[in-house]
Symmetry: C2
Subunit: 101 residues, 2 copies
């Protein structure tokens, strides 16, 4: 049984498309640098529902140990340093998922 | 490009394991009843991080039209009727994901 880490971000007022693009660029580099990431999806909210958060990240990992590696990885920390100043709110959870096929 | 719908729930004080189990049972029935659900994962937070929400649902769907079908489906509405009275907070987002290979 693998683990799915989910994080939703709400940006502060005044966050620019360029700042979000820098976050996207930073996150895009992580799968090639953190082999523990089995699946990694992220992006801006599509704006199809009311009251949604602005951005989501979903990381599938083998187990809690792999989650720790992802969390503490310097390349991840570098992107978090970009994200933190933009955050008005953050919501997260980790759930168990079935291993793929 | 498909769509990933993410919802995080925080339960009110006093929600019992039996109530959560009823939610899990209800959600478990949805994939066989709503063919629009390409992938459907959900469950209680594992308790491995601070400040997390209590429960997460991730639904992968073909597009916005499929999301509407899922949302409005009577079997889904039936589970939502179980969930709503238990909710202290809810966080959600929809992001674009790549279609599976």
């Amino acid at each position: 049984m693998a683990l799915r880490h989910i994080a939703l971000f709400r940006w502060t007022d005044g966050v620019t498309p360029d700042q979000v693009e820098a976050v996207v660029d930073g996150l895009s580099r992580l799968p090639s640098r953190i082999p523990e990431l089995r699946d990694y999806t992220f992006g801006s909210d599509l704006g199809v529902s009311e009251g949604t958060y602005d951005f989501a990240v979903v990381a599938d990992l083998a187990d809690e140990k792999a989650l720790d590696v992802y969390r503490d990885h310097p390349d991840h920390q570098e992107v978090l340093a970009l994200i933190r100043p933009l955050l008005a709110d953050r919501a997260s959870a980790q759930i168990r998922i079935t291993d793929p096929g």
